[in-house]
Symmetry: C2
Subunit: 382 residues, 2 copies
Amino acid sequence: MKDFLRLRIGILGGGQLGKMLCQAGSRWGLDLHILDRSPDFPAGQVNPQFTPGDFRNVEDVLRFGRDKDVLTIEIEDVAVEALEQLQSAGVKVYPDPAVLQTIRDKGLQKIFYRDNGFPTAPFRLFAGKEEIREAVQEKRLHLPFVQKTRTAGYDGRGVAVINKEEDLAKLLDAPSVIEDLIPMLREISVVAARDVHGDVLTFPAVEMAFNPHANLVEELLCPASLSQEEEADARDLALRVCNAYGTVGLLAVEMFQLADGTFMVNEVAPRPHNSGHHTIECCDTSQYEQHLRAICGLPLGDTALRRPGVMLNILGAEGHSGPVRYEGWDQCLSVPGVFIHLYGKSETRPFRKMGHVTVTASTLSEAREKADFVRQTLKAVT
Amino acid sequence: MKDFLRLRIGILGGGQLGKMLCQAGSRWGLDLHILDRSPDFPAGQVNPQFTPGDFRNVEDVLRFGRDKDVLTIEIEDVAVEALEQLQSAGVKVYPDPAVLQTIRDKGLQKIFYRDNGFPTAPFRLFAGKEEIREAVQEKRLHLPFVQKTRTAGYDGRGVAVINKEEDLAKLLDAPSVIEDLIPMLREISVVAARDVHGDVLTFPAVEMAFNPHANLVEELLCPASLSQEEEADARDLALRVCNAYGTVGLLAVEMFQLADGTFMVNEVAPRPHNSGHHTIECCDTSQYEQHLRAICGLPLGDTALRRPGVMLNILGAEGHSGPVRYEGWDQCLSVPGVFIHLYGKSETRPFRKMGHVTVTASTLSEAREKADFVRQTLKAVT
């Protein structure tokens, strides 16, 4: 590969993940370029090399990608056909478009785990909500279950939990995966990274705590409350999934831990992930730097956890829509070990991801106490 | 003051210090604007809000500053008269132009220390080299001594050490401070920060090791090899100097430690400083964030040293001028605890500051060993 500083690197997507990739790359002065609709988006604020365009549009992606050496993504929902063409033309595309094709369709993803012998919740595929209703009526499908639309679902969107008859009104009308509702102990994520030589390193497992109301991760804990053996099992599973995909760059592997202590793969994301934000402050190599190392052909960096961390999202407060301001900022900034990241979005909406906070301390329980203070204090309001 | 996210903040200077200020500010999405000659300069690579212009030119600074709420600097050598006018017009200027006026003139700086009772090397002021020669000939001035030009000296420029007769040929012809050559144990720097309410916090003392050939700091060690009491003395001296100036924002206080363990003030810089680079990785609050907190009216952040650090500059290799490439990159990136910062300068020259590396480890001596490896391995060449 060319000298890494001379690589022209394109990122599809200019949201907060793109922003944090640019921030990581700017320490080395990498030649990063962003494609997204407006330079006012988060990544445009830290990278003047911004091409306005739609990463879902084949022409826009082709035009953007043609003069790049390497292309990557911060979101799965992109014009994969354009990436395939660019790859054929010699551009390195990480993740590989074929991998992306599988991952962005939750149906294909589930089939991949089944075919490769990875533990995953039992599932069936349906074309739309009528088919699902029919199967329920004919008792071919039993409540409770989880519906996930096959594409375009993220941040809790495209998911419906059907516990009882009345919930059937919530069914989404799209090609879907119907999964058994698995009784689980906890939800775990392991961010792995695979380099161009096939070496894989994993970050320590993180434990996710959900806000059931918004169906968004509310708090993320690292280390997770796993035994040493369970931690090793979770990381090994992530490593094997990463190798099975053969992807280059990050792969965040979300999994469920069952009552017997074993893990099932839920789903993966071949890009920086919410469950890796804390690596900026808690590890020597952040997930963002790790992704850039991988796609530039550089050696992977150290993933050891230097100190415990709690990550919480800053979500737009309920009942507030419009130009944002933040309450409680000064109080939170006065607490040692509180790292606030705002994504530079000028408008807030209820539950919109406006930023995140990583809280560190010498123990996880101390970090959780400080995180509680931050959650009660810092508000994105109008 | 306005909500800090709505403050329009201008920075005079778009070099590496400006770049690192922008990187720190981008985590919160601060509205930072840069004034410097070209957006190709380091800060322009991380901040699209770049106004081309000359920060030494009164008109350019006035034009740039008029619509800002707060102005700050990354270099002292700016059009102070413009800053004074802008301050009168209601723009907050940190550091205060009056403080900047004193600090940028090493003669006025020395007088300030003398008048305020701070220990500093004995000195006299001269108009130029002929006056100095005359004083030497007439035995009113005795060798050895140090000549420092009163203005525009930085990174070892504008300094001549006159040990013997022949060295007189090296005298610089400019208004100068002539200082006694002080026999010292070591050179120390303490970065202090003062907020708008007058509260001051200091970072732990750092010890500077010079490359005598280039007259540039070669390696910086934190913690410094001081006793607890000496460390407290050094930080107290920095705090008192910071309070005496009454500046807002950072003040890096360079000092000499004498054989008896006491400290003398050498000179100060009212901005981010080479001796604070390691705070990015070794403290929870970097010097850059601290400066932004101070000038935005936010509370100062925690300055505790989380782990030992060695900082070394990446200087252009001797005998190489032209488009830069870096040797030894992969080997250095494979060492845990090695953080490389490149400033994004496309051309190298002998001894040009191309970047810096912070090396951390659980002990300082381990960090120094790794730093030695980096120094021998990482080269900025053509």
